[in-house]
């Protein structure tokens, strides 16, 4: 029962048109650039997978990663909290032209909805967004005199995750603040696909230090020298 894929192309081969794809990362930290670009390459070569819904805190920056997916025309909808960046042109142009849909979710609610999806909690109440436009149409309830908004779980067909170390059973660690949404997304997707900087044998990660237990991981591919999105963007604009 090996979870190891021989290549990024193989790792993302099951992703199909119309799927909901959670992509780890906050800005460039944790963005799984090699998995994303394997998907873009396939789309450019075959026209599939298109019409994707992408879940990420942001909506791309410059022309790499999620921005490159948007430029390629693969993304029908973004679910995010902050579709702005130092260079948000890819999303902004399509959004203002009505060519891409946006579901705007407050950042903490986005995190909690994804966690809920992974934890089998179909709905929860949060004070966040009560009385604002973002809460329009959502049920509200009062608990101990304070008002709360009911939010629903968020699940995905696939999660694309960048890890630091993976063992062959799927246990993961992350690198600094590249952790962000990734441990949550790994729990909320039917299939979780991981690119790891280093692949080790079981036992190579101290059981005390595992951040994502292997039960949440389906496929692993080693990308030993991964690109860092922010570094790429700074190269681009030099």
């Amino acid at each position: 029962m090996s979870k190891i894929s021989p290549s990024v192309e193989d790792a993302v081969s099951g992703i199909q048109d119309g799927m909901v794809v959670m992509i780890g990362g906050f800005g460039g930290a944790g963005a799984p650039i090699e998995l994303i670009h394997a998907l873009i390459d396939r789309y450019k070569a075959t026209g599939s997978p298109g019409s994707l819904t992408v879940v990420n805190n942001n909506a791309g920056n410059g022309a790499v990663g999620i921005a490159a997916m948007i430029y390629a025309g693969m993304v029908a909808k973004m679910v995010c909290s902050f579709p702005r960046s130092s260079d948000p042109k890819a999303f902004t142009e399509k959004y203002l032209a009505g060519e891409i849909e946006l579901e705007l979710v407050p950042q903490g609610t986005l995190a909690e909805r994804i966690r809920a999806g992974g934890a089998g909690i179909p709905a929860f109440y949060t004070p966040t967004s009560y009385g604002t436009q973002v809460a329009e149409g959502k049920p509200v309830a009062e608990f101990e005199g304070r008002h709360y908004v009911q939010e629903r779980w968020l699940k995905a067909d696939v999660a694309l995750i960048k890890a630091e170390v993976a063992d062959s059973k799927g246990n993961l660690t992350y690198h600094k603040a590249a952790r962000n949404f990734s441990p949550l997304m790994a729990t909320a997707a039917k299939t979780t696909i991981v690119q790891a900087r280093q692949l080790v044998d079981p036992g190579g990660i101290d059981p005390e230090h595992v951040i994502t237990p292997g039960i949440f991981v389906d496929r692993i591919v080693e990308v030993s020298d991964p690109k860092q999105e922010e570094a790429l963007l700074r190269e681009e604009t030099k």
Partner: protein, 223 residues
């Protein structure tokens, strides 16, 4: 009544249906025995509610670390690739549908899939533990049990008389006499002891056994 399977044999039979690579939670007590009968060559990763994935056998007496225990508070060991996590993450695995199989004991199982396994009714101290979570979390919820109570009464019934653990949750029952799937709120007989007729089995079962095209022989080695 004719011969019946021992508890070890019931556990053996349940173990044969656990697929390679499965994530499995075994209930406290009798279900723990299933781990002994994992077929060679299959990898099974065991989850315990108190925050370990991929634990192994009990350590030798005297070598216990009492901070390394399973949900039954028995000392365990770790396999390479084990992980620790807190209780909310542990039950996210359960409730979130990440376990492939949970195997539990039962007082009663109804043909609707309802399970009663936590309370024998008023008068005792109630204790539920993780059972109510497990029955709604795993992709397959299997029960292992004697086919009848010590008094000879059916444990497989039309509807449970004892307090429920969960509604419509059981998918398969491995008993001392048969293997029964629950399909469309009916008991579908999959295997029975070759020494028993369907009629004999029906006589000790509290709801109708649906018999499909084939009923395989339930054949279990001495274990």
């Amino acid at each position: 009544m004719t011969a019946k399977l021992t508890n070890a044999q019931i556990a053996w039979r349940a173990a044969q249906d656990i697929p390679d690579g499965a994530y499995v939670n075994l209930g406290i007590g009798f279900p723990e025995m299933v781990a002994k009968f994992k077929p060679d060559g299959r990898e099974v990763i065991y989850h315990t509610e108190n925050g370990i994935l991929d634990f192994g056998e009990a350590p030798p007496a005297g070598e216990e670390d009492w901070d390394l225990i399973n949900a039954g508070k028995k000392a365990v060991t770790l396999n390479p690739g084990a992980a620790f996590f807190h209780h909310a993450d542990s039950f996210a695995m359960v409730r979130g549908g990440h376990l492939d199989v949970a195997i539990l004991g039962a007082y009663e199982v109804a043909e609707t899939g309802d399970l009663a396994n936590w309370s024998t009714g008023p008068g005792s101290v109630p204790a539920v533990g993780g059972a109510m979570d497990l029955v709604h979390g795993a992709k397959r919820v299997a029960v292992i049990t004697d086919h009848v109570t010590k008094k000879g009464e059916p444990k497989l019934v039309k509807s449970c008389s004892l307090p429920l653990t969960g509604v419509g949750c059981v998918t398969t029952v491995y008993t001392s006499l048969a293997v029964i799937d629950i399909v469309d709120r009916r008991f579908l007989l999959r295997e029975k002891l070759p020494s028993m007729s369907v009629e004999e089995l029906q006589a000790v079962t509290g709801a109708e056994l649906v018999v499909g095209d084939t009923v395989a022989d339930l054949i279990v080695p001495e274990v």
